[in-house]
Amino acid sequence: MYHSKPIHFKTAIPALVIALALWIVLTFFQGHFLYKNGDMSLFLFDWDFFKEAFSIPGGFLGWVGSFFSQFLLIPWIGALLWTLLLLLAWWKTVQIFKIPDKLSALAALPVGLLIIANMSLGYSIYYLQCHDYFFAPVIGYLLMIGIMDATWRLKGTAAKIAFIFASAFGGYCLAGVFALAGVIAAGIGTAAAPDSKDFKGHIWERYAVSAAAAVFCAAVPFVLYRLFTSFSIADSLLMGLPNFTILEWAQSVRLPYWLLFGLTAAMAIARPYFANAESDGRKMALFNPAITLAAIIATSVFWFKDDNFKAEIKMSLAAERNDWQKVIDIFETATAYNPDKEEKKYKDMAHELANANDEETYSQIIRIYNGKISRPTRLMVILRDLALLKQGKALDKAFAMQDGGKKQESKFPIVNSIEAGQLVFFNYGAVNIGYHWCLENQVLLGWSYSSLRAMTSYAVIMNESEFAAKFLDKLDKTLFFRKWSREQRVLANDVQAMSSAQPYKDILPYMCFENRMAEYDDGDCEIFLVNHFFKNRSNWSTPEFDRAALLWAMRYKDSVMFWKALAQYFTTNNPEHLPKHVQEAALLFCSIENEDLGITFDKEVLDGFTHFQEYVQKYGVNSNTIYRLWRNFGDTYYYYYFVTNVYSFKFN
């Protein structure tokens, strides 16, 4: 008779403690990441949505995964569910493989791989094509070891082969390769059980079961490939695994799963030997702590850690909630620095640059220090500028805060339109461009709560109520966005109400431009926006549009654009007092062009600029002086103009 191995409470204590720690870390330090994952997923309480799950092998696993993923929108609940499922995976691993207490940490290895698979994602979530990513793998793993358990429990060769057949075909349809991996491991485990009490068949019977597992697993993709039209034969062994739009990325992200399958098969082989290890207690005393520590270290090493990634997500989420002050606060927290440490980095850089013998070394040093010196990514700057514009502070503060273009900690470059194009373009009133990016993303990655909401907003602000209804009908079938959907439905059918409701109220003033065909912008929001504010001008304008146009002229460091935008700014904003950065820019361009346009400047601005000129004349701008220059003049437009080099593109 097959017995599951009982687990002693003492054995479970470390697992419970680690699970609790994991839940705390996830909830309090990774809530933004969990929410983002949840927001990029979709589960509809809808029969068609359920049926759709069966259009692809592994689709049902995805459907279950999506069901759980929606709870990531409340991070502590999502974290709790995931942690409990991981704990269950550990517990069932110990039970099914009959891992003795002294070796119970072995069961932490598959769990560690499952954690790494999720928490190492980082920027790759923007290319992730699955709604179910967070939960499907752990559920797939449970199904996998469940198949093994059931196979081993069954008595008789025929029953085992019949079950393996059903698991291979049915399991593949429902859970993709997780089921096949379970069948293979069950077959391997059956063959490698010389002294198993569970199955007293002759050796040929054991090999018959294994051979059946191998044959069915080999046959299933080729047979079912003919029933489905949703995948190519080359992809048949990837069904149920996460997919990405970038192949190399997919390969590296799938690595934990291949290791998981290999490890499970290895444990299936080792299962009969675990019983002997039980009695050899003293030799194994350090085994559990050592393995647990190794698993924690490995998980920690592969856990994606990047403050800018975190800040980008948090800022985007705050912007979606129209909480612009929070966007600025997150930016300031993320770019806060210790002046002493920062100075040391600059000095080290200057020292290394002084010793650089060739241009290649010089560039490499710059690259290294670009990663070390605290700098925001362009997306962070874009979102911060947007927040400042919404608050009417951009022309006073945009250049006083940190700037730069730190490269994302990503294996592959990610254009900021993919990350946040739908949000940025929408808030600048370029609604069709946001719509375009949202649609492209949904074709590549599938519909999500986020894209359904974005599409609704585009339709609502364009007064396309029938189009909005399409997405609202979907959102009505979600658990967490029904209320939002009801509110938006009212706005979709009432232009007056829409124009006085947020976020539309603040966006409509930006929609005062001529229609134009969008030019190819390489996915860079800034290229589009610079072009947008200078090519799409209509006969009428709003103060908001002209403030943004002036900011983008200054950002692009183009005096012709600046003077045009300033003239327009005077017309619509009629300012009594020019904002600080506008004065600095006007002073700078007057100085460069040797013009006196009769603009009255504040004394502080005049003094600051004079001081800057003297400083530069005296010390120059080089690696030795850059830190001091930044400390003294880093909050001015002319520092940005002369020192900050963020644009490599040319204005068309």
């Binding site: 809808d46 068609d48 490939y225 003919r226 039209t229 949703s230 995948f231 190519s232 080359a234 992809d235 997919n243 990405f244 739009t245 970038i246 192949l247 997919a250 370029a430 609604v431 069709n432 461009i433 719509y435 375009h436 649609l439 492209e440 949904q442 074709v443 590549l444 519909w447 364009m462 396309e464 029938e466 189009f467 209804a469 399409k470 009908d473 979907k474 929609m511 431009f513 001529e514 229609n515 134009r516 065909m517 969008a518 030019e519 947008h532 799409n536």
Partner: protein, 532 residues
């Protein structure tokens, strides 16, 4: 067990009585609101059940459908028919199904004004094909080519790009088309990865690369010759761009267009119209195959990298006129083209000519400018009646949104087209009947098993085609053929054309784009003249 059944019967009877109107019904003043709107439409008797959902607010619903002595009663908001009920209704003695919707509001039952679903004895082709495509500009992860049996709800994917492409190498599929409504003469294009034009002729598959040194691109928009083994194609250099601020989201423009003829038996292409100052597109054969209709816009701009941006700026000045070009299919000889409809004079643009198989009608799209009607809200359907000599906008079937991709049924009694009338963005398939006087009936949506399908589905359905038979080749057979075979290059044939004085000229095109023409002589040409 028997007791349970008895109780159930009693409960159901009581429930049914409780929700049934008693006595005279009050007339409810509000108008009938059903989706899809099947009120007062004309449908063929062999169409699938026109399931619909009632959008009028009520606490309970009861719908009575009658045709002669046949009556079917349905309860609930969603009215879905089983095939038995539907067959009884459509084969009833009358020419219309009368539909009365009764609503219960509070304790009071009332009735809406009844409406009719008219039944036409003109049958409709059993199958349609279409491309199911996500609404997007650049991405095409999932493109399915489907065949639907429209006498029921069975849909079959006959090819999907997901069966061929991999992560990094995308495959686009488009422009499926068949000759004479037959599954034994069909073609579609596979672009990029494993690309080529796939022809399935009498069960034999062929993948062809129609791009030659003398043509600007592979074949694009096809028109299968009705009597001979030719397919006319346009050549297109297509670009698309997003409108920054417009209800039209997208603009699709061809930088260059030509028209070519593919000779199936010779696997060779020859030019038809290749004037570099004209953008010729959308070839369409007349019913007898002796005239090729097409559209063309005059456009002059230097060729080079700037041409693309220039043409986008000039997009509103691109007005396509309708032309015809005589053809002798036996000798593959063309006559000089002539103008059929001067759309430019009306400051509009005519595209997508499609002729009815009986030769009486031609339907086109008409819009303000440009070549891609599906992305223009202003695009309407336009009908030429050659019998009556009239040309007019088909106002009775146009909507406030884009109409495009129309096609005639094989008996010329029905048209099907893609329309965005429901939400302005997602194209849906609609039908209309044309009577002896050339008038269209009220359009109706392709019936769906779930009547709310069009509301909830986020794909678009375009390039519909009627077919009279099921496609015998499976999706896997197509996929394996496409994956395992390279496209066979098409040869290039010279163009044979008579000028206005009847002199036959053959024209060869060289790789560098220049041409050499040689006149054969009027006497020689006259024997090969087309009949016009």
């Amino acid at each position: 067990m028997k007791k349970i059944a008895l109780y159930l019967c009693v409960i159901l009877s009581v429930a049914a009585c409780a929700d049934s109107p008693k006595g005279n019904l009050v007339k409810i003043g509000e108008s009938v609101c059903i989706f899809p709107d099947y009120s007062e439409v004309t449908i063929p008797r062999n169409i699938a059940p026109t399931n619909f959902v009632i959008d009028n607010d009520a606490d309970a619903y009861r719908t009575i459908l009658t045709n002669g002595d046949v009556s079917v009663t349905k309860s609930g908001r969603k009215i879905c028919f089983g095939s038995k009920d539907w067959n009884r209704l459509t084969n009833g003695t009358g020419n219309a199904i009368s539909v009365q919707i009764q609503l219960k509001k509070g304790a009071q039952w009332g009735a809406l004004e009844p409406f009719n679903i008219y039944l036409s004895d003109d049958s409709i082709d059993q199958y349609i094909t279409y491309r199911r495509i996500p609404v997007a500009v650049e991405s095409y992860e999932i493109l399915d080519m489907c065949q639907r049996d429209i006498t029921n709800f069975k849909e079959k994917i006959f090819f999907s790009n997901t069966m061929v492409q991999d992560n990094e190498s995308g495959t686009c599929v488009n422009c499926h088309h068949c000759g004479n409504y037959s599954a034994s003469k069909m073609q579609f294009h596979v672009r990029q990865f494993k690309g080529g034009t796939v022809l399935a002729i009498n069960g034999e598959l062929r993948k062809v690369n129609m791009k030659t040194d003398s043509t600007m691109s592979a074949g694009v928009y096809p028109s299968w010759h009705p009597t001979h083994d030719y397919i006319a194609y346009s050549n297109n250099k297509t670009h698309q761009s997003v409108h920054a601020m417009s209800h039209d989201k997208l603009e699709v423009i061809d930088e260059e267009n030509d028209i070519i003829l593919y000779n199936i038996n010779e696997n060779a292409v020859s030019p038809i119209e290749t004037d570099s100052s004209e953008l010729e597109c959308f070839p369409a054969w007349s019913a007898d195959g002796r005239t090729l209709y097409y559209v063309s816009a005059h456009y002059e701009a230097p060729f080079g990298p700037e041409r693309k941006s220039r043409i986008f700026l000039d997009r509103k000045n691109l007005h396509f006129n309708l032309y015809a070009k005589p053809f002798n299919p036996d000798t593959r000889t063309w006559g000089p083209h002539y103008l059929v409809y001067d759309a430019e004079a009306a400051d509009s643009s005519m595209t997508w000519p499609r002729l009815s198989p009986d030769g009486r009608y031609m339907m086109t799209c008409i819009s303000t400018h440009g070549i891609f009607p599906i992305d223009q809200i202003a695009s309407d359907l336009f009908i030429f009646d050659f019998k009556n000599g009239t040309a007019r906008k088909a106002t009775e079937i146009n909507s406030q949104y884009a109409e495009s991709y129309h096609v005639w049924s094989s008996n010329s009694k029905w048209i099907m087209w893609s329309t965005r009338r429901e939400d302005g963005v997602h194209t849906r398939l609609y039908f209309s009947h044309i009577d002896e006087n050339g008038n269209f009936s009220k359009p109706f949506a392709l019936p769906q098993k779930n009547p709310e399908f069009n509301r909830t589905n986020l794909f678009a359905f375009n390039i519909p085609e009627f077919m009279t038979e099921p496609i015998g080749i499976s999706a896997r057979e197509f996929a394996e053929f496409i994956s395992e075979n390279d496209a066979v290059p098409a040869a290039f044939e010279s163009k044979r054309e008579t000028d206005e004085s009847g002199v036959l000229i053959t024209t060869d095109y060289r790789v560098d784009g220049t041409t050499s023409a040689s006149a054969i002589g009027k006497g020689q040409a006259s024997e090969e003249m087309y009949l016009h």
